[in-house]
């Protein structure tokens, strides 16, 4: 969206695999729920009608979550320099977020179980803002996340109060 975004860095490619794995779980859960729902509501009558439909729906869900992980990956990027950190995200509703370095209150690096498995981490930046008090950057290699966090540590030592 902006010219300055040419310097942006993409997320770690393993993020796609992570999202796809997450997508599998979602698809499995949804399709089981769908199956249970249809079985209960429609009963085994006309199973030859809704069973193929359910199969089709499950296949579509699986394919869609597979594709979506990659599409979303292509639309996410970030840049960290001495002045600020800028994060671009969103496929349909797009946004670019800018956090000046001096507004970073503190940072967190967290890892869920799936993220640990893929060796990724999530950087969470806390600001003093109202709406954007938490800015998240997922899909970073764990070491990279730690490195960015260290770089964002406030440099000034004087109490800003």
């Amino acid at each position: 969206m902006i010219a300055g975004m040419l310097r942006h860095v993409m997320l770690d490619p393993r993020y796609v695999a992570l999202q796809r794995e997450l997508g599998w779980y979602w698809t499995a859960g949804l399709s089981i729920a769908l199956l249970a729902g249809s079985a209960v509501v429609l009963l085994p009558r006309r199973w030859y009608l809704w069973l193929p439909l359910w199969l089709l729906a499950t296949a579509l869900l699986a394919w869609w979550s597979w594709r979506w992980a990659e599409i979303e990956y292509r639309h996410m990027s970030y840049e960290v320099d001495e002045d600020r950190i800028e994060i671009r995200s969103g496929v349909v509703w797009r946004s670019v977020q800018n956090v000046p370095r001096s507004r970073v209150q503190h940072t967190d690096v967290s890892q869920g179980p799936l993220e640990r498995k893929h060796g990724l981490g999530r950087l969470v930046i806390f600001t003093a803002g109202t709406h954007h008090s938490r800015v998240e950057l997922p899909g970073l290699a764990h070491d990279t996340a730690l490195e960015i966090r260290d770089r964002l540590l406030p440099r000034q030592t004087a109490d800003v109060v």
Binding site: M1, I2, A3, G4, D83, R84, E86, V92, W93, R94, S95, V96, Q97, N98, V99, P100, R101, S102, R103, T127, A128, G129, T130, H131, H132, V135, V160, V161
Partner: protein, 508 residues
């Protein structure tokens, strides 16, 4: 290291009362239940409510101590869970004082100490004698505000007047006439009136009062009959309609009168003074509030203007600050108004004094030319929804309402888009919005937290984008969302705001 001090002995009574307030409703139920049944079974229950509170209040009085060290205030409290809190003098932003009627009768004061950051007061001391407040102010601010500290030392400890004579620049003083006008324009206490009205209706008092006057229950079905009558030329009972309208107008007048009285009592003798880099507010007739707002804590300044404001040539100015909103059980917007009512021609001078930005004479950027087309969609949807709902009652009679709905949508959308605009100066970003109720928000670059550029699919299709500016204020009124900006201008604005924010340090 000075000696340890305690709260005023009256604090037992005040703490007890505060706790009791929580138990009023259940207590009422118990009492009402006791009315019906016999015996004294309810007395043990009342004891259950009252005794722990009394015990807690007494305990707190005996375990709460504070003292003045060289560079910090130390507060010790608690019996089972002991807590020692150190508050460095340098971190204390302001010391606010609240006195309600009971406080004033007994010459005590409720003190709140606020430090940088955080949404609540760092320490609340309830209650202290008045002399202790003066001592605290002079000790904490000695060296920081020599003028105020000097005046504080001279202040007589027995004075019931809250404010020692401060060497400051008076910004605003509202006399009773202005306050009456403020109450008339704003609608304070409307919720209370509505609740009272609802209660009266529920208890059937309304019917009991009105039916002897009119002879039949009125109000319900009047509007429906009126519309039907107009459309299908049926007979309309003009008397009933006139009576209903009169009652409605009477109710509105009553609400306004109540609001005017409320404003006069709540904001009596409203004074805003600039002392060094702080703004000091004092107001209140029964509950007297004395509050300090460090100017650098002002994140967003909002100017509000409704149709009545415009008629009388006034505006209302509100600021949102970082941290430290006075927390009262009746948390109300009074506490954020830095100028509940202000003549429009003094707005510029006021804004310059508060945040150093001039509002009038700015070159406003209008929204994208195609903004109207997008804006009207929302309005038309609302109109269609309203007509659909009306159709349930009016059936086919709803058709005449449709053109008026469309007209309303067109006028509303057009006026909204016409009054949208944003502007940048050397030091701040401004945003104005609203058609009937207008709002102008000003955020200095140094107070910007994060800047976000958004583009929804609708935005992208029409070549627009939105910019969100986030600040550290605690409420909705403290952020700015600018819609319908042409895409390149939006990118440029985003880049500029990010650069300006990065260049300036953020100080709490």
């Amino acid at each position: 290291m000075s000696s340890e001090r305690r709260l005023h002995p009256y604090s037992i009574a005040f703490a007890f009362l505060t706790q009791i307030r929580l138990f009023i409703v259940p207590g009422l139920f118990v009492y009402l239940g006791a009315q019906r049944s016999e015996g004294n079974w309810w007395q043990p229950w009342m004891m259950l409510f009252i005794l722990p509170n009394a015990a807690f209040a007494v305990l707190r009085y005996f375990t709460y101590r504070y003292r003045y060290d060289d560079s910090e205030l130390v507060i010790r409290s608690g019996l089972l869970f002991r807590r020692e809190r150190h508050i460095p003098y340098a971190r204390i932003q302001n010391i606010d004082a609240v006195q309600n009627l009971l406080h004033r009768l007994l010459n005590v004061v409720d003190v709140r100490i606020e430090t940088g950051g955080g949404a609540t007061a760092e320490a609340t001391m309830s209650v202290l004698p008045l002399s202790a407040l003066t001592e605290m102010r002079s000790r904490v601010f000695a060296g920081r505000h020599p003028a105020a500290a000097g005046a504080g030392d001279n202040a007589d400890a027995d004075r019931t007047d809250q404010a020692p004579a401060v060497v400051g620049r008076p910004l605003l003083h509202l006399n009773t006439r202005e306050l009456l006008l403020c109450g008339f324009i704003e609608n304070r206490g409307a919720v209370l009136i509505a609740a009272a009205f609802g209660l009266i209706w529920e208890l059937g008092l309304f019917d009991r009062i009105v039916t002897p006057l009119v002879g039949e229950p009125m109000g319900r079905g009047v509007l429906r009959n009126f519309v039907r009558g107009v459309i299908s030329n049926a007979t309309i009972s003009w008397e009933r309609i006139a009576l209903t309208v009169a009652a409605f107008v009477g109710l509105l007048l009553l609400i306004r009168l109540f609001s005017m009285a409320w404003a006069v009592v709540r904001l009596h003798d409203f004074t805003l003074t600039l002392v060094d880099a702080d703004a000091r507010r004092q107001f209140g007739l029964l509950t007297r509030v004395s509050q300090t707002i460090p100017l650098r804590r002002v994140q967003t300044l909002s100017v509000r203007e409704g149709p009545l404001h415009r008629y009388f040539g006034r505006v209302a100015v509100r600021v949102s600050t970082a941290g430290g909103r006075l927390e009262e059980q009746s948390a109300n917007a009074d506490r954020e108004y830095v100028a509940p009512i202000l003549p429009t021609d003094t707005l510029d001078e006021f804004a310059r004094a508060m945040i150093g930005v001039t509002i009038s004479g700015t070159a406003w950027h209008p929204p994208h030319p195609r903004a109207f087309r997008r804006e009207i969609k929302g309005w038309l949807f609302t109109a269609a929804f309203a007509c659909t709902v009306a159709a349930f009652y009016l059936r086919w009679d709803v058709w005449p309402l449709v053109p008026s709905g469309i007209l309303w949508a067109v006028v509303g959308a057009r006026q909204t888009v016409k009054h949208l605009g944003w502007a940048e100066t050397d030091e701040a970003i401004l945003f104005k919005s609203g058609w009937l109720w207008r709002r102008t928000a000003v955020v200095r670059f140094a107070k910007i937290q994060t800047v976000t550029l958004h583009a929804s699919p609708f935005d992208r299709r029409t070549g627009m984008a939105r910019v969100h500016v986030d600040t550290a204020g605690a409420s909705e009124g403290s952020v700015i969302h600018i819609p319908y900006i042409p895409a390149e201008a939006a990118s440029a604005l985003y880049v500029r705001l990010s650069a300006e924010a990065a260049q300036r340090q953020f100080k709490w």
